[in-house]
């Protein structure tokens, strides 16, 4: 034999390290980056692309950025290379606007308190090993109403007009309201769609398919321009409330489809077992079917929520000032003209952080479900 290999007694061959070209840095490079001519080309292309994009971007965003200045000109003057850096001073100076919108200054403690309460409400929803979670969940269910009272006022608090809401506050209001109210409505719609009774089924199908068939923006237009026509004469409805109703109905239709998928995944045996125990329709669903179906649907539900959260930006088209709207409005300020990139990157980062964490959470749940379910 050409290669001289040491002979070992049968059954006593030791574990040898693999050839050096197979492992370590070399092996990794060979298998991951240069396994074929095509891959070599691909790798070089990507390296070139990253090299042309990342260093200048980093320079613009970090090295050459300015954090304190009062005008765009001042910003540029402070840069090592003029006009070639991010002027974060612009965002920093308007951060209050981005967070609170035009909420009256002296009352902003109420917004801050709501943010804190929101965090307290989210924790038990996300984390199922919390001691006393049951009571915490009741609090979470009550949270939208508590926060609503804190923010709008009345009943002892100074009332605040909803058209002063804006920025991240507005995003959170629409997002949280949409999320908390669309879930129960969506579940009801899903049950209705699977009902054996013709009339509720047809109604639910019509509603779900109608909502899913039209863009959200048309529903927001309806909310903004003509919802009042359908209400008894003289009723005046706040625009924010109208938007909240539409957003809730919109995402409820999508939730309904996700939950329907979960219901379909429940084996027939579960329904038969519930029937044989003599449970009524509602008992069977509340105690046996829904808990299982919802558990399966959670990743889909979270994905729907991510979509809803991103869709809150659409309200700027009907003139409400969410972070993107605030940013657009700020761009018109003559002192800060032409800093669109800073605004878009800031708003994009805000949404990315929120949505990416939600999607990671959904992934974590999905993995947990995959290991936990073995039937």
């Amino acid at each position: 034999m050409a290669e001289a290999t040491q002979a070992y007694e049968v059954g006593r061959h030791p574990e040898l390290p693999p050839p050096r070209s197979e492992v370590g840095v070399l092996g990794w490079l060979k298998h991951n980056l240069f396994s074929s001519p095509f891959n070599v080309v691909l790798t070089l292309l990507v390296v070139w692309f990253l090299w042309t994009v990342i260093p200048p971007l980093f320079e613009w965003m970090v090295l050459n950025s300015v954090w304190t200045a009062d005008t765009r000109k001042e910003c540029w003057a402070r840069m090592a290379v003029p006009e070639d850096g991010a002027c974060w001073a612009f965002i920093k100076g308007r951060i209050q606007l981005f967070i609170y919108g035009f909420y009256p200054h002296p009352l902003r403690w109420r917004v801050n308190l709501s943010f804190v309460l929101l965090v307290l409400a989210i924790v038990p929803v996300l984390y199922d090993k919390l001691p006393g979670r049951k009571y915490a969940l009741w609090y979470a269910a009550a949270f939208p109403f508590i926060a609503g009272w804190l923010l709008v006022g009345g009943f002892g608090l100074t009332p605040v007009d909803t058209d002063q809401f804006g920025g991240i506050l507005l995003t959170l209001i629409i997002g949280v309201t949409g999320i908390s109210f669309s879930l129960p409505i969506g579940i009801l719609l899903a049950l209705g769609r699977r009902s054996t009774m013709l009339v509720p089924r047809v109604l639910c199908v019509l509603f779900i398919e109608f909502i899913r068939g039209v863009p959200l923006i048309t529903l927001l237009f309806v909310a903004a321009t003509m919802l009042n026509y359908f209400l008894p004469p003289g009723t005046v409805f706040d625009l924010l409330v109208r938007v909240l109703i539409m957003v809730t109905l919109f995402s409820a239709a999508y939730i309904a489809e996700v939950v329907r998928g979960g219901l379909q995944a429940i084996p027939r045996g579960q329904f038969e077992a519930a029937d044989s125990l003599g449970l009524t329709y509602f008992q069977a669903h509340l105690t046996i079917v829904l808990p299982q179906a919802l558990k399966i649907s959670i990743p889909g539900i979270v994905n729907t929520f991510i979509g809803l959260y991103k869709d809150t930006t659409l309200v700027l088209i009907i003139g409400m000032l969410d972070p993107l709207g605030i940013g657009r409005a700020s761009l018109a300020d003559p002192v800060w003209l032409g800093l669109a990139r800073e605004v878009y990157i800031f708003v994009a980062l805000f949404f990315f952080i929120c949505c990416f964490s939600m999607s990671r959470y959904s992934l974590y749940l999905e993995r947990k479900l995959h290991t936990g379910h073995n039937y």
Binding site: N32, L203, E209, G213, F230, L231, R328
Partner: protein, 399 residues
């Protein structure tokens, strides 16, 4: 009416007995639901009538035949000016929606498939780079992407006077992308006819090649032969007919380019943003679809001697498509619906024309919004119909 409720000696009152019967209960519930729904609808109808009367409006579609009195700068398919009717404005809007949606669908599909396949690559660097792009893009609202790209086009590209000039015929400016328009001259019909004939020939050739394979087992590189035949035949005809095609190059006149084909910045922004945003979701769908085909299928195909490209064509793609197509169709629908965000940057789609300016000018909120919603519902129905057909056709036969 005798309702049998199992035991004969039921002493409850008739209504309670009726309620105890499952079928009767179902009928009662349905009648009540129906009554409530009709009641609510009637109430809403009454409210609308009263409210409209109070402000002196009436519900009618007559306004559609009135002149719109506004301009639409982007109407590539039909003639339109400010004397045209609202109906025509709606048609322009619908066509523009269809245009940006179909262009978006094509680009999003191409980008999505490429990125989905790259995500499966063993090349770590490529895989991670694509992953980062996907995660970032799809976790940021599509409206922001649209505004951002529009902003880039409008503010970062040069004014027409300093246009980015490619070979004196392609110009990239903040007013849009301009390139030469083909102008057919006398005799161009020959080229067109030859092209059409070669397409027919190629279709026939494909069928013939299949038949030959069935009969003799010989295979032809059908794709290359077809492409070659079409290109060669058309080129020969083009030269033989004396190149009956001239190009109308765009030229700078005053502050903007005139002539040639102009693609507006609004269209570019909407098209690109919708495409790459949707392509991120398509990439995930494609990746999942390919992963859904177990590696054992590839191994089995290799083991019987199939080459990797044939394995892909005969084994992997047909199976992956079953998984990919249904969610893909719903992404197409999403893209179409998201194209309604056109209004944010002033692209004249159906929401911006009939649902925007026409609504403002005529005050016909109900009527215009009904037209807009109906448009999207029809799109949805078409795509849903296709999906049902495909699912039925493709369902794997199981026991």
């Amino acid at each position: 009416m005798a309702v049998v409720t199992g035991t004969g000696s039921d002493t409850r009152n008739p209504i309670a007995r009726l309620w105890g019967n499952k079928k009767a209960r179902s009928v009662i519930v349905q009648i009540v639901t129906m009554a409530v729904v009709f009641g609510v609808l009637a109430l809403l109808y009454r409210n609308v009538v009263v409210n409209l009367a109070a402000i002196g409006k009436e519900f009618s579609f007559d306004f559609l035949n009135a002149p719109s009195a506004y301009d639409i700068t982007f109407s590539p398919f039909i003639e339109y000016n400010s004397r045209s009717t609202h109906l025509r404005a709606a048609a322009v809007g619908i066509l523009n929606t269809l245009l940006v949606a179909s262009c978006g669908i094509v680009l999003a599909t191409v980008m999505g498939f490429i990125m989905g396949v790259l995500r499966l690559s063993k090349n770590w660097l490529v895989n991670r780079t694509v992953y980062c792009f996907l995660e970032f893009t799809r976790n940021v609202p599509v409206l922001l992407h649209i505004l951002f790209i529009h902003g880039l086009v409008v503010t970062q590209l040069p004014v027409p006077k300093q246009a980015m000039n490619f070979a004196d015929s392609f110009f990239l400016t903040n007013r849009g992308f301009f390139f030469p328009a083909p102008v057919p001259e006398a005799g161009f019909w020959i080229v067109a006819t030859v092209f059409a004939i070669s397409v027919v020939f190629v279709i026939a050739f494909g069928r013939w090649a299949k038949k030959v394979q069935d009969e003799t087992g010989r295979t032809y590189p059908v794709f290359w032969i077809s492409t070659g035949a079409i290109v060669a035949a058309t080129a020969v005809a083009f030269l033989a007919a004396g190149m009956p095609l001239s190009w109308e190059a765009p030229a700078l006149k005053g502050f903007n380019f005139k002539g040639g084909v102009a693609i507006k910045p609004e269209f570019i922004a909407l098209w690109l943003a919708l495409s790459y945003y949707t392509s991120c979701f398509i990439a995930e769908i494609v990746r999942a679809g390919i992963l859904a085909v177990s590696y054992g299928q590839t191994e089995a195909a290799y083991a019987v001697g199939l080459r990797p490209n044939r394995t892909l064509q005969l084994i992997i793609i047909p199976q992956a498509l079953r998984v990919i197509v249904p969610p893909l169709a719903s992404q197409y629908l999403n893209l179409t619906k998201n194209s309604s965000l056109a209004i944010a940057i002033g692209y004249m789609d159906v929401v911006a024309t009939i649902g925007g300016i026409s609504l403002m000018q005529t005050g016909k909120e109900m009527e215009t919004m009904m037209i807009v919603m109906l448009t999207y519902l029809v799109f949805s129905l078409i795509i849903a119909g296709f999906m049902n057909w495909y699912n039925k056709k493709m369902a794997l036969v199981e026991r």
